[in-house]
């Protein structure tokens, strides 16, 4: 492993910062403040539930928007603006560039999520609740959101290696939604009498990334614990799927003629 991806990653992060991507944190902060104030006044007993639900959902949606919309432009923008030409004349391989761009966006997402997590903690504190051990579930749920975002980013990057941002966005969203409903699709297939549909739906089930397993928002909101096995299984699942996508992206991108 060389240091090249790191150099690219830092620059990608810097681009996000300079393009004012982190301004979304302001909206998140306003959302949390508003929710904390309103919830504190009108509902009794479910402050925690509402704040956690809203906070985690916002973390997930904000992150998703960033992962998809920045992700599909990671490679495309560098080709379109020809900034890639001078870069590739440096001693950097194309896969190193890809991995660097990917890592840069992940870094951005992690830092963004860290700020939002802090905001959520402040909001929870404001509604007058001491932190308890079961709050670990919230952190695990956020970790799962990050894993899902990393996976979404890898999908966006994969498509952006060979198609336009518009199409890549569509493809990525389609895969994300399919991945959310993967289990329903398989169950639907299991109820039919056609063995072809049965096979097709279960193949689809194992092929698309299963995003449903990364959603622990409700569990965290109810203060239930998340089994440890799910933590390592989700981690391993995300890492393997990301590796797969990065390998495929590199294979495609390394052979691509840059206009």
């Amino acid at each position: 492993m060389s240091a090249m991806p790191g150099v690219v990653a830092i620059n990608t992060f810097r681009e996000a910062v300079r393009d004012r991507v982190l301004y979304n944190l302001v909206f998140f902060a306003l959302l949390m403040i508003g929710a904390a104030i309103i919830v504190g006044q009108i509902s009794i007993g479910i402050e925690r539930l509402v704040i956690v639900n809203l906070g985690l959902t916002a973390i997930s949606i904000f992150g998703l928007v960033m992962a998809i919309f920045i992700g599909v432009g990671l490679v495309y923008k560098e080709i379109e603006k020809r900034t890639l030409y001078s870069l590739l004349s440096k001693p950097i391989r194309r896969w190193e560039f890809l991995v660097g761009k990917y890592a840069g966006l992940i870094l951005t997402l992690v830092i963004n999520t860290a700020f939002m997590t802090a905001g959520l903690a402040v909001a929870l504190f404001y509604v007058g609740r001491p932190f308890v051990r079961s709050d670990a579930s919230i952190l695990i749920a956020i970790y799962f959101i990050l894993l899902a975002l990393a996976l979404v980013t890898a999908i966006a990057l994969f498509f952006s290696c060979f198609s336009s941002p518009m199409l890549s966005t569509l493809f990525t969203l389609a895969i994300y939604v399919t991945g959310l409903f993967a289990a329903d699709i398989r169950d639907f297939g299991a109820l039919t009498h056609s063995s072809f549909i049965k096979t097709a739906t279960s193949v689809l089930y194992y092929l698309v990334p299963n995003f449903h397993d990364f959603n622990s928002i409700a569990v965290a909101a109810h203060g239930e614990s998340i089994p440890f096995a799910l933590v390592w299984q989700n981690t391993l699942y995300a890492l393997m799927y990301i590796a797969l996508l990065l390998v495929a992206s590199s294979a495609i991108f390394s052979r691509r003629n840059l206009k």
Partner: protein
């Protein structure tokens, strides 16, 4: 500094592009190009727009992949990434991360050469000075003019003191002063023993700088050699500029060949008739302003190539 291994060795390099959306046809952008550039040379790569110059450079940089043929740079095949440590490249119409300042941009590129922070700082400052961007070092590139971007592009191509520099149209977008400065940079590189390979459609630059040139037209190599050799620089005629005595008509033998230019006349005569003409002028008391040889320039050579193919794009206008 010159070694046995050529700086660039291109053998039968060919590139086909598919064009059209429905019915893909192949268009040959580069057709079996073979050439060799020695280390320490300034090599000019000439041709009108669309001749295949940029295609060649992109092939050499590994941005696109050849349909056929091979190329070695500094003795290593073009897909050997380690060779990129020793080369610099200025793309055509360069564009850079516009959210960075020039200093940040160059620091970013210098990181790929693994310099420590302090050396990067020194090198960046030096190269900014060299390309005349020192005063704009901390301005974001989104505020740069085309000429400034060109300078930044040259800066990133030479920041790591490469042995071989590829410049794609380095003079484009520059004013006469900038053009002059880039010429100086190229000549400087030569005195440092570097090899420079640059493409241009502006021929006077090539004429002035190059040890050797290659002329490319419609993807094919049309000639290669020293700028003097590539076209015969024999004197074709003599040009005389003169001012007749006021209110006195020109003798008819002179008036036939001379064309008025302002209050003056210009005429071209074969070298053999020079003295006779001068005598004629003296006899009518005209004041001779200048006598100079008329030689074909690379421009003429170039236009000749284009005119031989009536349908070829005639964009090879002289500056």
């Amino acid at each position: 500094m010159a070694s046995q291994i050529p700086a660039i060795e291109i053998t039968g390099l060919t590139k086909d592009y598919s064009v059209g959306f429905w019915r893909k046809r192949m268009r040959r952008s580069l057709d079996h190009l073979s050439l060799r550039v020695e280390e320490g040379e300034i090599f000019g790569f000439l041709g009108p727009n669309g001749a295949g110059k940029t295609t060649t450079l992109k092939l050499l940089m590994g941005l696109i992949f050849p349909t056929d043929g091979t190329a070695n740079i500094l003795g290593r095949p073009i897909d050997d990434i380690s060779m990129h440590r020793d080369i610099g490249y200025l793309p055509e119409h360069p564009y850079f991360y516009d959210y960075l300042t020039a200093r940040e941009l160059l620091d970013y590129y210098a990181r790929f050469s693994h310099y420590p922070a302090e050396e990067r700082r020194v090198r960046v400052a030096r190269v900014l000075e060299r390309v005349g961007l020192a005063s704009a070092a901390d301005v974001q590139l989104r505020k740069f003019s085309k000429g400034m971007l060109q300078r930044a592009g040259i800066a990133q191509a030479i920041i790591h003191d490469p042995r071989l520099v590829f410049l794609d149209e380095p003079m484009s977008g520059l004013d006469p002063i900038g053009r002059h400065e880039v010429r100086d940079i190229i000549l400087d590189l030569k005195t440092q023993g570097r090899t420079v390979f640059f493409s241009t459609h502006i021929l006077s630059d090539a004429e002035m700088l190059c040890d050797r040139v290659a002329v490319l037209h419609e993807g094919k190599l049309r000639g290669i050699g020293s700028p003097g050799k590539i076209v015969s620089l024999e004197v074709q005629a003599m040009e005389i500029l003169f001012e007749p005595v006021e209110n006195q008509p020109l003798p008819s033998n002179l008036a036939q060949h001379a064309t008025p230019v302002g209050g003056r006349y210009r005429m071209e005569v074969p070298e053999a008739e020079l003295y006779r003409t001068i005598n004629d002028l003296r006899s009518c008391s005209a004041r001779i302003l200048s006598v100079s040889p008329v030689r074909p320039t690379l421009e003429d050579y170039f236009l000749g190539l284009v005119e031989r193919k009536p349908n070829a794009p005639v964009e090879a206008h002289a500056q």
